[in-house]
Amino acid sequence: MNRMPLLLVGIFLTFLFSWIGLVAMPYFQIGRYVPEIDDITKDQTPPAFTGLANQGAAIYAANGCIYCHSQQVRPLEAGADLERGWGARRTVARDYMHDRIAFFGTMRTGPDLSNIGARQPSVEWHLQHLYQPQVVAPGSIMPPFRFLFEKRKIADQPSADAVKLLPPDAPEAGYEIIPTKDAKVLVQYLISLKRSTYPLPEAPEETPRP
């Protein structure tokens, strides 16, 4: 094999073929969704993210939540995702149409977050959890995200949005823990994650094995 054209044609061709298959074809098939809008209520399906939630997605990306948390629910025949209550059905491509970056994830050191907004709708829970995970999830090995919070001296009276903490995690007397904007938008993103809590034509709700 001494001919450069021959070698290069082969190298190009084999690769081009896969490019068509795994880049171009997915674009044609699952890259052109439009939301369905209800005639009466004007609600979108799937629902779009709010501006704050979108900012929170950027914080999610910046701090690498994806390395421990997936955002995909597998169907009944693959894994125990539904039995664990991580969704009412598997997730499908349409569920991600509003995401700027899709955090599918490949690791579950922590639980799946596709529907964390439905499981844990409480802002306070999420703030406590981010500040010191073991407060609300004893035994968790999630690291604390204290850099998303500020410790402030209480001026006149405690702030309304201070994180409620008990010793030993509470700050010393006269101080309070205030979430930064990053923490607030991240929690907004988390509580808006309700990807597969309702049926879709291509993905009906599934009942877990008994």
């Binding site: 054209p5 082969g10 081009l16 073929f17 098939q29």
Partner: protein, 69 residues
């Protein structure tokens, strides 16, 4: 989203084009004698100075191994 007829045409023409190019390349290879005498090619990394049978690497300070072969 179901695939429409354009998509299928796209796939079909891609397959035909790829097959055609592959056959063309094979034909060209056969004609230019690229498919004959394979095994001779494996010797091009050897020459008079580093011939076949001559090891070219050893731990530092173990010169004997070269002569042992």
């Amino acid at each position: 989203m179901p695939m429409d007829i354009t998509t299928y045409l796209f796939i079909a023409s891609a397959i035909v084009a790829a097959l055609g190019l592959a056959l063309g390349a094979l034909f060209y290879a056969a004609r230019t004698a690229n498919l004959s005498n394979f095994e001779a090619g494996s010797a091009v990394i050897f020459d008079e100075r580093e011939p076949i049978g001559q090891p070219t690497d050893a731990f530092p300070g173990t010169p004997g191994v070269f002569r042992s072969r």
